[in-house]
Amino acid sequence: MEAQLQELKTQALEKIAEASTVKELNDVRVAYLGKKGPITDLLKGMGKLPAEERPKMGALVNVVREEVTTQLEARMVLLEEEAINAKLQSETIDITLPGRPVKTGNAHPLTRVVEEIEDLFISMGYEVAEGPEVEKDYYNFEALNLPKGHPARDMQDSFYITEDVLLRTHTSPVQARTMEAKGGEPIKIICPGKVYRRDSDDATHSHQFTQIEGLVIGEDIRMSDLKGTLSVFAKKMFGDDREIRLRPSFFPFTEPSVEMDISCFKCGGSGCNVCKKTGWIEILGAGMVHPNVLEMAGYDSKRLTGFAFGMGPERIAMLKYGVEDIRHFYTNDVRFLSQFQRTEL
């Protein structure tokens, strides 16, 4: 019986080693260790043995059973691991396939420029002021030192609706309205918005475009403050190493008036196609608020002074992003719009 037991053990261990899947191994378990298996049979058959042999034989059967169990479990761990590995192997994906698309949109490039300018001036303590696009002649012209009959307010250049109402030709009426509303108090505002002029649409002209203007009124506001403010703007907007230069100019609502150039952000001033070989790019117009404009809005121009500036987001966007045709901003070609998605920080 002992020999029979040893034979069984050898057989079982062989079968365990031969089993190549979890299922086969389970079959082996059932075959040898199950209730109907030979080892159980042997244990059951112990009753027939003489009483003095039973403990010895019992111990022997237990040893064999334990050894078979141990081997089987060890083999089981191995086979399970192999099975998992095989499963994982079969589950391999092609990670080069594209990801599940996330829907993304983005702001219009003009909004992007306007918001950048707004935020910059907000950080310097400015508020954002807005006003109507259909405006009274008074706020659009008269309050800005452009009396009736002034050449710069020709009917040919503006979209009039009645003799006294027109589509605003600049965002300056927002300044006039704010001054009137503030009743002689200091002001620090930035005014973005759409404006309209009687121009035929082509690569550089648009009958509708955007403007952003700024106005500061306070005690002892000096022309040097205008220069300092514009310099901060130029550096933040176009890069720390930008220099600015002011050139004399003329606007009816400012005196003195200036135009501001910045050193070319592409070539740094050595001359390239962006700056037309001059090293400088014209960015905005500005000046000290004309005393007539202050007085008309009820300000004491002896006590309070101010500066104003204005620029065109289209021009800035065209320069910044290299856009060659202003009409792109109003065509809404998604191949154009979607290019303004990524940050530039």
Partner: protein, 799 residues
């Protein structure tokens, strides 16, 4: 204004500055130089030739074979110009010559005949066709007989010149003349200005003996000077004068007209020459026109005059529109022997109005409009008389016929140096200020520490102390102004709640996958009211540029849909755009009611994950989802009600409601509208954004996170096809009691397994008690009430 530097040197020393450098100095101190134009265009090897003989080319009708003496030799040159003739002095580009536009002249054979060079027109020397004298406009230019054969054309005919093109701002009318520019350059370079010396022989007879003058409109014409020059010979002007005019952008005509134009350019004072004999009456009367009176102007146009327009007459009929254009009936011609030279001060408003009335802008009117210098009216007349006596052999009658009521006084401006420095934020020394004013030729006195400045009448733009600040600052140099920041109290700055929420809306929509578009506010009659939430009378421009852009829009959608079509026409099938902007409704006062709206238009696939086989076209519910999420984001309660709107699908349109007001619409485009716009299934939305953003939202206070689990029960119902989910939801909610926390549709089936006219809708109900864990019995009790209520309204429970 085109400024020939060679001409400018007559009046001011330009210190031999290279033209570009001079231009830069002018730009930096106040007048923008738009272009620096080299009149020689780098031309070489262009000489005076003498045409010794000229015969027809045997092989070509239009060509001539010329033997041309070019100094060193006689060269055979083939010429195609119709006006070539033997005995002419002509401009010859020799082989090897370079001409404008990169043209190089080589020896060539034309129809078998050798050609050694080219006989040139002025256009070929880089002069604009419209500036070439009419006689030579269609052919070669013929030089004066005394031009030296073989000599260099560039050097001898003033083509070695540079022209500065000034971009003048409206305030600098003083720089619309060579003398004005000379004063500016003199101030910049600290150089004196040399005025032309005027002297000529006067006749014993007086102008007054031949001409009488009446001015009946002294307001509009406070100064009128007329000189009479007789025995003139009308002919071509000398080459130097023609070249100066062409450099200034003026076409030469004949010596009389050229002299008036030359003085116009020199002094900025427009002149006019009448043929004395054609005037016929020996009288000039300046008066307002009679209503309906007619005149034929120099451009051969017959013009009807109005009573507010000023005319020059011969006492009987108009002979010129004052300050705008002369009349054909008194035009100087080759036959003219006696001329009347008019120099006058016409009031600017009157000329501007008349020039606008007739759509006529001339070199003269553009100067009168801005106001001429009253102190130059008489000198300009004298200068013209001098030039006519020199260049046309004229006999100038002594004296002038004058009407003079104009003020020639200089404006006095007082300003303190402290005021100047405090406004600029810098320290400019008093002496420096005096020096600058002196350079500008402003007579300045220092009185009690104040600058008392007498401003010459040529600078009518200087009126107030701030104008003087600009003069001092620009000539001191804007670069010298320091950069400071306002010293006033700092203010917080920022966006208003409305503006901040607008940005939140934009960011939300962009995060949802929409691209921001910007379209035009002006539209056509046809599109003005389409999709408008609130239709009011349209607003039309007085003078639109086109019908397409004549009316203010009342909805953003028509243009947004045009943008969608633009993209789909370019094979971008899935497009999702949004726009925020104003629509323009009739308001209560003269201004319009401008409402900020938000519009969205989406077409094509909303979900497109091609390789995973997930594709979902856009539908109504995409937009409804966006509005729902947006309303949650903004904390406003928006509801939806079924509705209809023109051009939207009648069964797939809903109005968006805020506090009982319709403030928006969502819908699928009507199939016929889709077809008209060449679109596939497209959904649109427009909201009155202002109505939403002006609402103040409540403070946000958190509700406790549930501590006890909730339980859910599902119920599937068979309903009539026309029963809306929201109706059933309301039944469920009102029957569910306080334990019912949420109701959600989770399935909809309308397929062929359903009875005709029926659909199956499944709801998931969530029960929850914040105080304790619910028992099964409690939930069942509540749920049975719901089921009973559903049965009551005729819903059939599906097993």
């Amino acid at each position: 204004m085109l400024v020939s530097i060679n001409w400018l040197k007559d009046y001011v020393n330009t210190q031999q500055l290279p033209p570009a450098e001079l231009g830069e100095k002018i730009t930096r101190s106040g007048i923008e130089v738009d272009a620096v134009i080299d009149r020689s265009h780098g031309m070489t090897n262009v000489v005076v030739g003498y045409v010794e003989s000229c015969v027809k080319h045997p092989e070509a009708d239009k060509l001539s074979i010329c033997q041309v003496d070019v100094g060193e030799e006689t060269a055979q040159i083939i010429c195609g110009a119709p006006n070539i003739a033997e005995g002419q002095k002509v401009i010859v580009a020799r082989p090897g010559a370079k001409l404008p536009g990169g043209i190089k002249i080589k020896k060539a054979k034309l129809r078998g005949e050798e050609s050694n060079g080219m006989i040139c027109s002025l256009q070929e020397l880089g002069i604009e066709g419209k500036l070439v004298p009419k006689a030579y406009a269609e052919g070669i230019y013929v030089l004066p007989k005394d031009a030296e054969t073989g000599s260099d054309v560039i050097a001898n005919f003033n083509l070695d010149d540079t022209v500065l093109e000034l971009g003048l701002t409206p305030n600098r009318a003083d720089a619309m003349s060579m003398l004005g520019v000379a004063y500016e350059v003199g101030a910049i370079l600290s150089e004196e200005v040399k005025l032309p010396e005027i002297s000529y022989q006067e006749s014993a007879d007086t102008a007054a003996s031949m001409l009488t003058l009446t001015v009946d409109a002294p307001e509009a014409n406070p100064l009128y000077v007329a000189k009479v020059v007789r025995n003139i010979k009308v002919q071509e002007s000398p080459m130097w004068l023609q070249q100066r005019l062409m450099a200034a952008g003026v076409r030469p005509h004949n010596n009389v007209v050229d002299v008036t134009n030359y003085v116009l350019m020199e002094y900025g004072q427009p002149l006019h020459a009448f043929d004395y004999d054609l005037l016929g009456t020996g009288n000039i009367t300046v008066r307002h026109a009679k209503e309906g009176e007619m005149i034929t102007t120099l451009d051969d146009a017959e013009r009807k005059l109005s009573a507010h327009q000023l005319v020059i007459t011969n006492g009987e009929k108009p002979v010129a529109i004052a300050g705008v254009m002369g009349g054909a009936n008194s035009e100087v011609s080759d036959a003219t022997t006696t001329v009347v030279i008019e120099s006058a001060y016409f009031e600017s408003g009157s000329v501007r109005q008349t020039s606008k009335d007739h759509g006529l802008r001339s070199d003269a009117s553009s100067r009168f409009e801005k106001g001429v210098d009253p102190n130059r009216v008489i000198p300009a007349a004298e200068r013209a008389a001098q030039l006519l006596s020199e260049l046309a052999g004229g006999e100038v009658l002594s004296g002038s016929v004058v009407f003079d009521k104009v003020s020639k006084e200089e404006k006095i401006v007082k300003v303190s140096p402290d005021f100047i420095n405090s406004r600029l934020g810098m320290k400019i020394a008093f002496e420096e200020m005096l020096d600058i004013l002196n350079r500008l030729k402003f007579t300045t006195e220092a009185v009690n520490g104040q600058l008392v400045i007498s401003v010459p009448t040529r600078r009518q733009d200087i009126q107030i102390p701030e104008d003087v600040i600009e003069e001092i600052a620009r000539l001191h140099g804007y670069d010298e102004i320091p950069a400071t920041l306002p010293e006033a109290e700092t203010t917080p700055g920022g966006l208003t709640p409305y503006q901040a929420k607008r940005r939140i809306v934009r960011n939300f929509l962009e995060g949802a996958g929409l691209l921001q578009a910007t379209t035009y506010s002006l539209t056509s009659e046809k599109s003005a009211k389409q999709f408008a939430l609130e239709k009011t009378e349209t607003t039309r421009l007085l003078m639109p540029m086109s019908e397409e852009r004549s009316i203010l829009r009342q909805s953003l959608l028509p243009h947004l849909l045009e943008s969608v079509t633009y993209n789909t026409a370019r094979r971008m099938d899935s497009v999702a755009l949004y726009e925020t902007g104003a629509v323009f409704l009739k308001g209560n006062d003269e201004l319009l009611n401008e409402q900020e709206h938000l519009a969205v238009a989406i077409t094509g696939l909303w979900l497109d994950n091609s390789w995973q086989g997930e594709k979902k076209p856009v539908d109504f519910f995409v937009l409804k989802g966006i509005v729902e999420a947006l309303s949650a984001k903004l904390g406003v309660e928006l509801t939806f009600e079924r509705g209809q709107m023109d051009d939207l699908h009648p069964g797939r349109t809903a109005f968006v409601v805020l506090n009982g007001q319709r403030i928006g619409v969502i819908g699928q485009l009507h199939p016929s509208e889709q077809k008209a716009r060449d679109l596939k299934t497209t959904v649109v939305m427009e909201l009155n954004l202002a109505a939403i953003l002006t609402l103040e939202t409540e403070a946000l206070v958190y509700t406790q996170v549930p501590r006890y689990p909730s339980m859910s029960r599902d119920v599937a119902l068979v309903l009539s096809k026309f029963v809306e989910a929201a109706t059933i939801e309301n039944v469920i909610r009102s029957a569910g009691g306080k334990l019912l926390k949420d109701v959600r549709v989770f399935d909809l089936y309308e397929g062929d397994k359903m009875e005709e006219g029926k659909k199956s809708v499944a709801f998931s109900l969530t029960y929850f008690d914040p105080e304790k864990t619910l028992t099964d019995e409690e939930v069942t009790k509540a749920h049975e009430k719901v089921l009973a209520a559903l049965t009551d309204v005729g819903a059939e429970l599906r097993s």
